[in-house]
């Protein structure tokens, strides 16, 4: 049980501080595409999202000071990142375009769209 010695006022203040931080980051999410680094919109948005997620994990989900659970979370996130990297490598070196009509069509129109976007 962890019911003893709860510093109510300090913890409540902590909740409000994190709320203000998250609200500010949400505001940045909104103004960023119109204000700065507009060429890297996607990366900036994901970076802000990652900072917000970190704040939620550490403070709202009480991961601060949690060793076993903290490492478990990190491990699972690294596992997801590993699968991301494997798929990115696979997609970049796809060898079977001619064997898959779906992939072939998607890739060619996608490449045209992607080049049009830049």
């Amino acid at each position: 049980m962890e019911t003893t010695n709860v510093d109510y006022k300090a913890e409540r203040a902590g909740y409000y501080k994190v709320l203000v931080g998250l609200l500010l980051l949400t505001a940045v999410t909104f103004i960023q595409p119109h204000m700065f680094m507009t060429d890297s919109n996607f990366m900036v948005q994901m970076f802000i999202g990652t900072v917000k997620a970190w704040m939620i994990l550490i403070y709202y989900m009480h991961l601060k000071g949690e060793k076993l659970i903290g490492w478990s979370v990190l491990f699972s996130l690294l596992l997801v990142v590993f699968f991301y990297i494997m798929v990115i490598i696979d997609v970049n070196h796809f060898q079977f375009l001619d064997l898959s009509h779906i992939t072939s069509e998607v890739t060619s129109s996608g490449a045209a769209n992607a080049s049009a976007a830049h």
């Binding site: 948005q45 999202g49 989900m61 478990s72 699968f83 049009a116």
Partner: protein, 232 residues
């Protein structure tokens, strides 16, 4: 063979034996178990984000155009709603830990109301999209007809409705869990000395918030600003 009761014995480091009365007081075990469940949720949504990333890399312009057509003010409003609801949930847990049962229940009710507002805004959004002919099963999202959207946009909206729908389903589950929690609190099954259920449901609600933290920018914000490709 009878069904006689065999007590389970736990031994401490000094060799003293204790009869186990139940595992309900195992706060850390309950927390660890719930984290393991949440990691499976991360895997599930992680796979969906992976699919999203893959198709985004293939159809960048279509995705940006489709994103620009979403109502990001409604999406942003829902982001703030979820953010505040994470606060009310957290404050509710804090009140429970200091023994303020009435305050804790009030905060849980506030969270439930915010969750319903979130679903209401989502319903308004989906209805507007349906009225514009953009919904799963409608012609615009089927390839090979006169009303078909570009292939990349079909993929975008397919993933958009699937992922926001699955997220909305988690919100509904969360409301159910909070109602159940209120029932348990009223029955004094959850109280200051035994609040693991409250703790884990608060964790669940934070996870639902956490997923939205990435769902929102990925669907609503990638088409914001001057990178829309001139769609709107």
């Amino acid at each position: 063979m009878g069904h006689e009761y065999v007590p389970e014995i736990a031994t401490d480091r000094d060799g003293n034996e204790y009869e186990v009365q139940g595992w309900q007081g195992d706060f850390y075990g309950g927390k660890l178990g719930f984290w393991l469940f949440m990691l499976t949720e991360v895997m599930m949504f992680g796979a969906m984000f992976l699919a999203l990333t893959y198709y985004f890399s293939l159809h960048t312009a279509d995705f940006v155009n489709a994103s620009a057509s979403l109502n990001r003010y409604l999406g942003g409003f829902n982001t703030v709603i979820l953010l505040v609801s994470a606060l009310t949930m957290g404050l509710g847990l804090l009140k429970m830990r200091v023994g303020d049962i009435k305050g804790a229940k009030l905060m849980i009710w506030a969270t439930i109301i915010l969750a319903i507002v979130f679903l209401g805004v989502k319903a308004v959004e989906w209805t507007a999209e349906y009225n514009h002919g953009v919904f799963l099963g409608l012609d615009a999202l089927q390839s090979g007809n006169a009303h078909s959207k570009p292939f990349g946009e079909i993929l975008f909206f397919g993933l958009y409705f699937t992922m926001t729908g699955l997220h909305g389903f988690h919100i509904i589950i969360g409301i159910g869990l909070m109602l159940w929690l209120l029932k348990r609190i009223n029955a004094n099954k959850v109280n200051q000395g035994h609040h693991i259920l409250h703790f884990n449901i608060a964790l669940y609600w934070d996870l639902v918030h956490l997923i939205w933290v990435f769902v929102f920018p990925y669907f609503y914000m990638i088409g914001a600003g001057d990178v829309t490709g001139g769609a709107h």
